[in-house]
């Protein structure tokens, strides 16, 4: 008898927040991300016998959500709006206690990255995928993943660290 597959409800409970955040960083908007992730989880449920055997089911969900976003964009023939910081802050997250909100400076810095760099950050740092798996999910070479990650980290370092250090000193 093979290894027991995780229960879908348990998988959903354990990964939904990190999937949402990974997609939110990629599409730049919480409401859009939440709907895309819900759709992706629904598809995961519909194919759970197969998805549960995937080496990284959470990555499957994120990838499927991002694909759904591209598909919608295609249908609407207009850019998926990358929300500005105020929009992100004012949406449902703003209803959470202030201490639980995403740091707006970090979110702003992430949203300034090119889309592919955001996707790499989302998969590598927020889903904890390794380089090989990230490359497979995104359909790019491992070296390209490394390059995107390096550029993204450099951009975040330049844009974020001075601000955070300034805050720490004050």
């Amino acid at each position: 008898m093979g290894a027991q597959r995780p229960d879908f409800a348990e998988f959903y409970r354990e990964t939904k927040d990190e999937c949402l955040f990974a997609v939110m960083v990629s599409v730049g908007d919480r409401d859009t991300a939440q709907d895309l992730v819900a759709e992706a989880f629904a598809r995961a449920w519909a194919s759970w016998p197969a998805v549960s055997r995937h080496p990284a089911p959470a990555a499957w969900v994120v990838r499927t959500a991002l694909n759904a976003g591209v598909s919608r964009w295609r249908r609407r023939r207009r850019e998926v709006p990358v929300a500005d910081l105020a929009l992100v802050a004012d949406r449902p997250a703003a209803r959470e206690p202030a201490g639980d909100c995403v740091d707006p400076r970090i979110m702003a810095a992430l949203l300034q990255l090119p889309a592919r760099q955001r996707q790499v950050i989302a998969l590598r740092l927020f889903l904890d995928l390794d380089t090989e798996r990230t490359a497979q999910v995104l359909g790019i070479a491992p070296g390209t993943v490394q390059a995107h990650l390096g550029r993204a980290m450099a951009a975040l370092r330049n844009g974020l660290i001075p601000t955070l250090q300034e805050e720490n000193q004050s």
């Binding site: 016998p49 055997r53 995937h54 995403v102 359909g139 790019i140 975040l156």
Partner: protein
Amino acid sequence: MNDDELITALREQRGKVPMTTPVEQIISRGRAVRARRRVPRVAAALGATGAAAVAMGVAVPATNPAASHRASGPTVKLAAWTVARQADGTIRVTVREATDPAGLQRTLRADGVPVSVTFTDRRNPACQTSNGPLGNVAGYGPFGHLTNAYDHPQDAFRHTQDAFRHAQDAFDHTQDALVIHPSALPPGDGLQIWTSGASGAADNFQLYVALVKASPQCTGS
């Protein structure tokens, strides 16, 4: 603050935005997805090839009759993949199971598409990524959509969109469809199609497409 501290600061953010959709709602939506999936399978089988043709494994478009996929009904089987030339000159490729890549490659080449097809993680090493304006346009992501369209300038994206176009409403990952526009391929370029994940059974693979330099060793011409 060093890189490790920066990474920690980034990772600390991920739990701060809760996904509030109840699991019951997800499952309800999943049931709708499953129901939607069943209808086009049977409709496609009966409409595109005719009930008798499907039952016999004979199809009007080029298909892989050796492999089959059991649909919702007990007697309806679909080919693992289908290649159909459209009236507008485009070629619609539907992949349901990642089997017989050589047959798919042969069929597409016969339709004038310079292409390399492998249904494994190991892409044809003879293929070189195109250096054209599109660069490394990989990213026909899992179950069907270009994934890095946002990375390209507007011109490249339009070009990309013309070269590969995902069929409307074909998002269902057991019903992958890719529409190739041969006339939109840049001169000297071809396509490389491959999968990641387990090959064979539906639901277990992800399909990718990249623009590559056409060559006899890679795309056959």
